[in-house]
Symmetry: C2
Subunit: 209 residues, 2 copies
DNA sequence: ATTTATATCCCCCCAAACAAGGTATTTAAT
DNA sequence: ATTAAATACCTTGTTTGGGGGGATATAAAT
């Protein structure tokens, strides 16, 4: 641990919590707090000079939210890895944070040791997450096991969802156009819809595709 | 640690590695290896009787691959959490494993301590991943910052990717059908494509949407 | 003050795609 | 022996898609 030297910035509006982290992180060899801010607006002015490797970012902030601050911070300090540190575990918030460029997502019940490890991990190109968050992220990849669709029907609906025409799907699957149409009819009938848009939406909502 | 008691099964074709894990895991209090198999076919016969809480699964197996074995194992032992343990770090393999129902994904350079922690984590509903894997998973949520598309064009291409017709998109965005058509023309021209399927593919490949 | 980018709307054309109504065969699994 | 899945064929009518040519308003940038 003696050869690492990480510059860390905090963005967190609760002063008590912020000071807690400053103490908790800054007193470790190799970890240095170079900036500490109560809002994005505050941070925006000075954070570039702090040269952070890692930014610990709260989501509930006065003014611009932590989520919306991510892309802005990335423009100000492109090399920095941003870790969200929050009490919120809502799926939508998590995915928006990750889509906006967060490198990791930790909940505030994370023990100090794990926070330090996560900072190091983020700096080395990892993606630190609380275990519960990680499972949610993983589950977002998973499909339902109770799809009414057969494997072939699922495959064809997936192709439709890529915007391909029935003709093109037929060619790529080496089957007749009429066969594709038959499958689609069966899909619509099983899902009780009358258009591809509705079929795609229903299938995605239920994780059939 | 004295109150946990985890039943673990291994599926791994390399005997030396398998015995290594048996030793490495089984000698810890609370961790018990109840089954150890060289292939899915082998495991299928007896694994239900081993009552595993966690299954460590290799991807390269003789016969049915580890990836394809995941849903089958989940049918045999629905309560078990499956952790992939492999040398492969290819994006496609990882996403297929997670889509098939894996609870976690570890690379074989994972230190013993982390493997034990991951087993516990999986059993408690977490999603253990190697840090590099986690970053890849997180990156799959992220968009490119250099899209040639304007926000409105991006929005419309997203709608197209849901299978909606131009007319429906116009209605939902409260703009004229002709406006939608104009945007699409501009999108095609910017992306140098001539169909929605190509536009969607190119945009997804480049993470514009 | 004047380009430039973005978003909006309008017209034409025509081939292609889509949705719904049937029926029917082959293969594999129970 | 039945069923489920995948395959293929036919008809009918409507909608959509892609390409072509424009125009206008607004806001941001120079």
């Amino acid at each position: 641990m003696q050869d690492l030297n990480i510059n860390i910035c905090l963005v967190e509006d609760d002063e008590t919590i912020r000071e807690g982290y400053e103490y908790l992180i800054g007193n470790n060899e190799g970890y240095k707090i170079t900036g500490s801010f109560a809002s994005y607006e505050d941070a925006a002015k000075k954070i570039a000079k702090c040269d952070p490797d890692v930014i610990l970012l709260d989501v509930e902030l006065p003014g611009i939210s932590g989520i919306d601050a991510i892309p802005k911070l990335k423009k100000l300090v492109p090399e920095a890895h941003i870790i969200i540190l929050t009490v919120y575990e809502q799926e939508l918030l998590i995915f928006r944070a990750l889509a906006n460029g967060a490198a990791g997502y930790l909940t505030k019940d994370t023990p100090p040791k794990k926070i330090l490890a996560s900072i190091k991990e983020a700096m080395e190109g990892g993606g630190p997450m609380s275990s519960h968050i990680a499972r949610m992220v993983i589950q977002s990849f998973q499909r339902s096991e109770e799809s009414p669709l057969t494997p072939r029907e699922t495959e064809i609906l997936e192709q439709i969802a890529t915007g391909k025409s029935r003709k093109r799907i037929a060619e790529e699957l080496f089957i007749d156009l009429e066969t594709v149409k038959s499958h689609i009819k069966n899909i619509y009938s099983k899902l009780n819809v009358h258009s591809k848009a509705d079929a795609i939406k229903l299938a995605k909502d239920n994780k059939f595709i």
